[in-house]
Amino acid sequence: MPSEPTSHWVLLALSRYEAPLLRYAAAIVGSAQAADVVQDTFLRLCNQDRAAVEPHLRAWLFTVCRNRALDVRRDKRHVEAVAEVDEVMPNNLPGPAEALERREAMRRVLGALDTLPERQREAVLLKFSGDLSYQEIAEVLGTSVSNVGFLLHTALRALREQVEKKDREAERRSR
């Protein structure tokens, strides 16, 4: 059927998934290299058969982006900490006390991300930076939908435990 020209659909995909892919890639390789990974991802998309890719475009993009990001990270031979939080999120911002408290909690949650097992961490990134559905995450990670549910559930519980532990420590120290 007459379709939009190839360039057009790739550009549409770009406008739609640019930000979530950058978020996702940044969490794996750091924000400096995220742009390269995302650019590569879309360059590959240009060469794909639209009809084959489009029905599961999001899962396709995240799979390719993940593979690219993991390649890059392997080349660098060290794991980039997800939590470059301190540089990016200075905690001395002025603001009401609740906002500060919330930022502090956010820093802790992000910091705790790096303590998660690899699969759990990946599921969390795909869900919360890419906003993928369980089905799509399962496709990217090559697992089942129910396993994705389990991975996320375990991950979030672990994150909260970590945060609470740090809270308690902070409390003890302040006493």
Binding site: R23, E54, S133, L156
Partner: protein, 665 residues
């Protein structure tokens, strides 16, 4: 049911992954168990923090250089097998014309071929021609000539229907993608709800936006014509549909740059309400006192542009009209966009050598030669060589939705900016759907070039963009224009601005959002529609009821110099005066929009009613746009989910599962 607070389904619920039954179970558990509720809240908070935290740390978009490289790649590498750089797929309007050309050869043939065309096949044109049975001489005469902008409407309609049926079949297979508009004017998120009625006792003064966008109309057209689908309600903006048409309000008389008009009649969707049409029109350019013009046209020479009846032929028709108004003081140059030749197609020619210019326009044809990017630079060079002091020195770039400047864009923009500072402006004409990246690029270039960007969807646009605007200096004819609508609290109980959902907040907010004054240019026109609820007559009927004084439309502006403030005041009385055809047509378009949006205000209006109104409002229809709207209404009948069933009858068959809108109607 008892639920553990450690159940993985709680997270699934928070993330919206449960089906309805399961979700209801969890909701019941939340209501019954404070511990579960606390758990859900904690999960929500963690999820939000993760989302927010991850978003904050990452760049929001690709750096400009990488984006450009990508945009270039989408143009260059979409054909992996060493194919030409510019690939074109068959555009629907073109298909319509092909079908018209072959109409006597039976639709089955066309549809068979249509079926055979896969996206990405370069040889579409020759294939189609080769497969088609040789048309007889008589049929050949029927086929649209290349420079004919008017295709026989009945034939066209038939062709469109055949195409639509075919597409409806295909869109059921799910391979049609909804177009996603990128807006040309800055607007916030679309809203599916409608502006409310506002009581005049709380707010009696309102305003409507003067910067109009018309993207929604082409979107609606594409949904219906290309996909035989009902457009989603949030894609339908009634104000944009209404303003997509040219109205024939009388232009301002004498020295006045602006004129305003107000009309009222019974609202067709609610007989106890009134519908008010307010319009503002700027004077067209005065062609008798225009300065000398030095015009360079850069014309897309790709086959996709040249063979589409809605592209090159439209441009040629409009160019011919421009030429008819030129004289010996003017110069015209034509350049092929992307042509390899260093010489222009038509070297600078005085405006009174009409035969030569017209021949060059008529003979303009695509040539399958290599692409070279410096056509625009050459155009500027030609313009510079014949620079007219105090005249209009302008380069026009006429291309379509396939346009992309690629990595050149930055350099190009710099050249354009420099030339604009030197007095040569650049205007861009975008043919075909301009809601994508091409539209944005063309608009950005025109802004750099101090010219205008005109999306061209039909003969009227082409005429407006070229004839009316090309020959004049691009300066506002009225500055700091504001409108105020003062409703009478005595006769009007409440009012509602139709459309403009994203620009008017509920209640008070909407007075301030976009009230900033704007500058208006020659030929600008705005139409706004209000629905009024009249206040019931409480005089007790002792006297003859006075003629209700509904509102005052006030336009405040400064003249072109920006020095003198002026004001236009138009009172509106409900005196049962005959309304114009413009009113009828705008009313029909608005009603159509309300039906598409499934607006709660649409009453029991049907497409048939819309058709009646539109027919009454056809008027002179110089550009044929209104007739096209009538065609669209015809096609609507074929569109699933668009034909309302009589009340109480069985649900429509053929609704796709899960399309609640369809089964509702």
């Amino acid at each position: 049911m008892t639920l553990s607070k450690d159940d993985p389904r709680l997270l699934s619920y928070v993330l919206g992954e449960l089906d309805e039954t399961e979700a209801r179970e969890i909701e019941a558990a939340i209501d019954g168990d404070p511990e579960i509720r606390a758990e859900i809240d904690a999960l929500r908070m963690t999820a939000d923090m993760l989302r927010e935290g991850l978003a904050e740390r990452a760049p929001k978009e690709l750096p400009a250089a990488q984006r450009k490289a990508l945009e270039e790649a989408t143009r260059g590498t979409d054909k992996p097998k060493g194919a030409p750089l510019r690939k074109r797929s068959l555009r629907p309007m073109w298909l319509a014309a092909a079908a018209v050309a072959l109409v006597a050869a039976s639709f089955h043939v066309v549809m068979y071929q249509h079926h055979d065309i896969r996206p990405g096949e370069e040889q579409v044109m020759p294939d189609l021609e080769a497969l088609a049975p040789q048309p007889k001489e008589k049929e050949k005469a029927k086929a649209p000539r290349k420079d004919d902008t008017q295709i026989d409407e009945a034939t066209r309609r038939q062709a469109l229907r055949a195409l639509q049926e075919e597409r409806a079949r295909q869109s059921k297979q799910g391979d049609w993608r909804a177009p996603k508009p990128r807006r040309l004017t800055a607007r916030s998120k679309p809203r599916a709800d409608e502006n409310p009625f506002v009581y005049t006792t709380s707010i009696a003064r309102a305003a409507f936006p003067l910067d109009v966008d018309t993207a929604s109309y082409s979107l609606v057209e594409r949904y219906i014509e290309e996909a035989a689908r009902r457009p989603p309600p949030s894609a339908v903006r009634v104000d944009e549909l209404v303003n997509a048409f040219a109205y024939e309000d009388p232009p301002p008389s004498g020295e006045e740059p602006l004129t305003a008009r107000a009309e009222v009649d019974v609202a067709p969707w609610n007989r106890s309400h009134n519908l008010v049409r307010l319009s503002l029109k700027a004077a067209p350019l005065d062609s008798t006192r225009r300065p000398a013009a030095n015009l360079v046209f850069v014309i897309d020479k790709s086959p996709g542009f040249a063979k589409d009846p809605d592209k090159l032929p439209l441009l040629q028709a409009a160019l011919r009209r421009v030429v008819s108004r030129l004289d010996a003081r003017d110069r015209v140059t034509l350049i092929e966009y992307g042509g390899p030749s260093q010489d222009p197609w038509l070297s600078p020619t005085p405006g009174d050598d009409k035969p030569r210019i017209l021949t060059a326009i008529d003979r303009f044809e695509p040539s399958p030669t290599a692409y070279s990017p410096n056509s625009i630079e050459r155009a500027f060079k030609e313009a510079q060589a014949h620079f007219v002091d105090g005249g209009v020195n302008r380069v026009f770039l006429a291309t379509d939705d396939q346009f992309a400047a690629g990595p050149e864009q930055g350099r190009l923009a710099a050249i354009v900016r420099e030339k604009a500072a030197g007095g040569i402006s650049l205007s861009t004409l975008g043919f075909g759907p301009m809601d994508g990246a091409a539209g944005q690029t063309l608009k950005a270039l025109a802004e750099e070039g101090k010219g205008s960007f005109a999306p061209i969807g039909g003969p009227n646009d082409a005429r407006k963009a070229l004839v009316d605007e090309a020959l004049g200096p691009r300066t506002p004819i009225a500055r700091d224009v504001r409108v105020e609508v003062d409703f009478s609290t005595k006769y009007v109980r409440s009012f509602r601005l139709i459309g403009n959902e994203d620009r008017t907040g509920p209640e008070r907010e909407f007075l301030d959002g976009w009230r900033g004054p704007v500058d208006l240019y020659a030929g600008h026109a705005v139409t706004a529609l209000y629905e009024l609820e009249p206040r019931p007559d409480d005089s007790g009927g002792s006297e003859a009821p006075p003629v209700p004084y509904l509102l005052t439309l006030r336009v405040l502006y400064k003249d072109a110099s920006g020095q003198t403030s002026r004001e236009i005041e138009v009172p509106l009385l409900d005196d049962n005066a005959q309304v114009s055809t413009d009113f009828r047509f705008a009313e029909a378009v608005a009603a159509f929009g309300l039906i598409l949006r499934d607006s709660p205000f649409k009453g029991d209006l049907t497409i048939e009613d819309v058709r009646k109104m539109a027919k009454e409002g056809l008027g002179a229809d110089p550009g044929g746009h209104r007739a096209r709207f009538m065609n669209l209404l015809d096609l609507v009948e074929l569109t699933p989910g668009m034909t309302p069933r009589p009340l109480g009858s069985a649900p429509r068959r053929g609704c796709p599962p899960g399309d609640s809108l369809c089964s509702e109607l």
